[in-house]
């Protein structure tokens, strides 16, 4: 005779990923690393933005990049051409990076102590929001060709991100994009989100982006010192 039993579980469905992400985060903190997980729709300009940013940031600190795409290593090659180490992850049928993939890729990069690791997630505004990779924070890149109401259509990614980078502002005169409205919509889903407007093509706005990165570094250092006390 079998007997039916009720078993209490109470576990987060993404527990396994979250555990590996916590492990990654421990490694990143031990290496005194800032880690930014970049999310966007395909073509918003993540790789173009990273090529410009790493070319300039590599003069003052260690920089590395993990590139996620379903196929090809084109993006990693674009980063390597800028003189910065990059590892490509091909997710195949998967539409997002997960924490285990990042743990493996991180081992294939040189030591970046005190520097910055950028992760370019798969171009997709839906599920990358659900998968913690162990990053310091998420950054959503949103280009002005996508329409002001993207944050309302895909709120999860905007809710999960600390910074929204509005890209391709060089096209503003052609597109009648209302930056104020885009910011208002983003703050409806995330009142605390920071906003920086840039052009990865011309470099406009990048000084503000580097200042923002420096503020995150300062914040991380203070958190670390507070913990040490």
């Amino acid at each position: 005779m079998t007997r039916t039993r009720l078993v209490e579980i109470e576990r987060d469905i993404l527990d396994k990923n979250n555990g590996i992400a916590a492990n990654n985060r421990g490694l990143f903190v031990a290496d005194d690393l800032l880690v930014f997980n970049l999310l966007s729709s395909p073509g918003a300009g993540k790789t173009t933005l990273l090529v410009r940013a790493v070319s300039e940031l590599k003069c003052s600190r260690w920089v590395g990049v993990i590139e996620g795409d379903q196929q090809t290593s084109n993006d990693a090659k674009r980063i390597q051409a800028a003189g910065v180490p990059a590892v490509q992850i091909n997710t195949g049928k998967n539409c997002h990076l997960d924490a285990a993939m990042i743990g493996d890729a991180y081992r294939r990069l040189p030591l970046l102590s005190g520097g910055i690791l950028f992760i370019e997630n798969v171009g997709n505004l839906i599920c990358p929001a659900a998968f913690d990779l162990g990053e310091t924070c998420k950054i959503v890149v949103f280009s002005i060709t996508e329409g002001e109401d993207k944050p309302l259509k895909y709120p999860d990614v905007f809710a999960a991100s600390s910074l929204m980078v509005i890209n391709k502002i060089d096209l503003a005169s052609l597109l009648e994009f209302d930056v104020g409205k885009a910011i208002e919509y983003a703050r409806r889903v995330n009142p605390k989100i920071d906003v920086i407007v840039v052009s990865a093509r011309t470099g406009e706005g990048f000084a503000a982006l580097y200042a923002w990165i420096d503020r995150q570094a300062g914040r991380q250092r203070r958190a670390f010192e507070d913990k040490g006390r």
Partner: protein, 113 residues
């Protein structure tokens, strides 16, 4: 398709428990899903049967308890229910909301033989 990844996460948790209890059959799985979580219950129901094929969870009933989204309105200082992100406070119309509950996706309990 992250619903598939989520279903595989559910099955992994179920398999672990079933092994621990040396059981062989799962009758039902109870999930708790918040309205502001990363997946819709319909999508999970749709994927689950395929994901469970030839696993211990094959044929198990999936019961999903849906929980409301809750936010703290920083304008009128009240806790309010919202159906999705980007909605305004139902009391004062402000968008200055901080989500406080309804983001969970949990395996709550199992019925096993």
């Amino acid at each position: 398709m992250h619903e598939m990844a989520i279903c595989l996460g559910i099955i992994q948790i179920v398999e672990e428990k079933v092994h621990e209890r040396s059981s062989s059959r799962v009758r039902s799985i109870c999930l708790e899903m918040g309205a502001l979580s990363h997946a819709a219950p319909e999508a999970i129901r749709f994927c689950f049967a395929a994901a469970a094929t030839r696993t211990v969870a094959e044929g198990a009933a999936l019961n999903i308890v849906e929980l409301p989204g809750v936010a703290w309105c920083m304008s009128c200082s009240k806790s309010v229910e919202i159906a999705r992100r980007g909605e305004c406070c139902p009391c004062c119309g402000s968008y200055h909301l901080q989500v406080t509950a309804g983001e969970q996706m949990r395996v709550k309990e199992l019925e096993i033989d």
